[in-house]
């Protein structure tokens, strides 16, 4: 990793970070203690330097939106987010010390947390949820425009137990209105994916009886499944194949129709508020042991109301608590602080089609960020 910045730029960066840290809720870092005044609108213009990061492609569009938004203010800041790495590559490069932070669809595993200590020192690494979206169940069925599917039906369809659109279970979900008979083609991801992970998490979490597989980032069902590369591959194949049903990151489905998912006796369409509500009620802190870590575990059984979208998709930023270079720490704090601000979340919602995280978790993230040094 090469970082090019002159001494004066570094000084400016430090000043900028001091201003930033002032906004954090608790100022126990050395920078935060210098200034206790908190400005309403944070000034990012003094951040300068280069951030090297990469990982999850799910949050890539959001990362791009955030980068564009913050560099519009901070002219000297360069952010390189490499989405080609995927979550696994992001974590590998992070634990090898070549990334300032990694984007990942799942928090660090225990052995990865240990591995990260080699780079981050004894303080370890923290997982910060920064990106919220939903997994959409998309379909292409002749004559159906507002398909409703209960969790049980979804599990049975994707497990190839329901193979025809005229099946009684589907008819029942749709208020007795039967669809024209036709074979169902399930479309899944052929590549390892955080979307698959979140979708199978949901199926495992809610449909144990009808879903005999474990949650995984690789699609577990063998048989007559169409497996396509990338979220766009799934979306395009569903679009082009009559009778197809698949799952994809909601922000990537374009004009393909998404089913309303059953929650209790209601059916819920994806909405940004719905995803945020689901996160609010179902996300439980499951810390990796590092102080300030915000790894979440979604308890799907808590999503019971019609105002919550039942298949949220969460993606993390993983970063060190202690940096060898405090200027770099300030850049990471500045950028992640922007992401975890209301403005940052709105930017992603508007430009990347994701959902804004609830304010409570943003406060938590900023609390953790303020301890990074």
């Amino acid at each position: 990793m090469k970082l090019t910045r002159s001494g004066s730029i570094a000084a400016i960066a430090l000043v900028g970070a001091v201003a930033l840290a002032g906004c954090a809720t608790s100022g126990d870092s050395n920078a935060g203690s210098d200034s206790s005044k908190s400005a309403e609108a944070t000034d990012y213009s003094k951040l300068a330097g280069t951030l090297t990061a990469g990982g999850s492609s799910a949050q890539a569009n959001a990362q791009q939106a955030w980068t564009t938004a913050i560099t519009a203010q901070a002219k000297g800041l360069t952010i390189n987010y490499d989405k080609s790495q995927g979550s696994g590559g992001g974590v590998t490069n992070f634990t090898a010390g070549s990334y300032d932070f990694a984007g990942s669809d799942s928090p660090l595993k225990p052995e990865q947390t240990t591995a990260a200590e080699a780079v981050c020192g004894a303080d370890g690494a923290v997982n910060l949820p920064i990106y919220l979206d939903g997994v959409a169940v998309i379909y292409n069925v002749e004559g159906a425009s507002d398909l409703k599917l209960s969790g049980e039906t979804i599990a049975k369809i994707f497990n190839l137990q329901i193979t025809d659109w005229s099946d009684a279970a589907i008819t029942k979900d749709n208020g007795g209105k039967a669809l024209a008979a036709g074979p169902i083609t399930t479309v899944a991801r052929s590549d390892g994916s955080g979307t698959t992970q979140n979708f199978t998490n949901y199926l495992v979490g809610t449909q144990k009886a009808n879903w005999p597989y474990e949650a995984s980032n690789a699609w577990p069902v063998a048989g007559n499944v169409s497996k396509q590369q990338g979220g766009s591959g799934v979306v395009n194949t569903v679009k082009a194949t009559a009778g197809a049903i698949g799952y994809a990151d909601h922000s990537a489905i374009g004009d393909v129709k998404a089913a309303e998912i059953g929650v209790g006796s209601d059916f819920v369409k994806f909405s940004s508020e719905g995803a945020a509500k689901a996160f609010e009620v179902a996300a439980e802190l499951k810390s990796n042991g590092v102080e300030g870590d915000l790894s979440q575990s979604i308890d799907y059984s808590k999503i019971t109301t019609a105002d919550a979208y039942p298949i949220p998709l969460l993606s993390y930023a993983i970063t060190c608590k202690t940096f060898k270079d405090s200027k770099q720490a300030d850049l990471v704090k500045g950028y992640l602080g922007f992401i975890a601000s209301e403005t940052g979340q709105k930017v992603a919602e508007k430009n990347a089609g994701s959902a804004a995280l609830p304010a409570s978790i943003l406060t938590e993230i900023n609390k953790t960020l303020s301890t990074i040094k």
Partner: protein
Amino acid sequence: MTDSTTVATSSASEGAPGPAPRQGGRALTGKGSGRAGDKVFLGLSSGSAWLIMVILAGVAIFLIIRSLPGIAANWETSSELNSGPTAGFANFWAYAGPLLWGTIWAAFIALILGTPVAIGIALFISHYAPRRLAGALGYLVDLLAAVPSVVFGLWGIIVIRPFLLPLEEFLNTYLGWLPFFSGTVSRSGSTILAGGVVLAVMILPIITSITREIFLQTPRLHEEAALALGATRWEMIKLSVFPYARSGMVSATLLGLGRALGETMAIALIISPSILFSLTLVTEGENSQTIAANIATNFPIATDLQRSALTGTGLMLFVVSFAVNFIARWIVARTGPGATRKTRTRTPKAKTA
């Protein structure tokens, strides 16, 4: 990969005595500056020759070192290998076996479909087409080689998949008793047949351009002798062109095979893959995955040990590609009297380089 192009080009320059230009060069420049130039050039060219050896050895060593943990690991107990893309396999060989099969199977389908067409085009260009058309056609075929494989992949998704669907349904309905066409017929079209068709198009330019060059080198006297004996044009080709070009055709085909074995993006985009041994051509859920596509699709999300396992499959691909090239050389050295002579004259030249 470039080595069998030398088969074609070296036979082209067969008439010219190899060492002559060098001697001439020395005789002309008796001065020190010329010798220095000679030395520099010798150094550069032999340096390049060594460099390629070093690179090749480096790749092999890298693959072996990186893949050892994955190959040696206990796949039954490792939690890392029992999750994600490598889940559900007893050991490395159970994982790599089907992938190896899928790689060879997809390439084989491409060869079966592509080789006859490629040789047909080459023959048309060399012996049937009017000169102007031949030139243009040869140029077009060479252009095909410049199309990036992602473009082929997209073409496969958008055009070939739906185009082949009716054929696949027909084959499945009426010839479903054959293992190749059995199973549940695909409805999205992402079958290994579609992948094979696109692969076949991708290997066309390699096979065509090499065989074309060789067909053109058929000694005029052989052809005229055949015609003088009353042979039709097809008989003339059968009697004089094919026997002469046999080894070249084989090596061109094997080069095409090498290209097909390593093809990644087009396969990854078109085929709906599963890791299993399968002969079926028209299904959605029973297409054997290829090594290259499997690495490309799963590497990003894989953890360290999973990556090591994927690298191990890469090592297998490396070995297979190597074997294919060796077989190609061996066949070239064996078949046809003309070919034997060619290889013998070529070997010392290669050594001096």
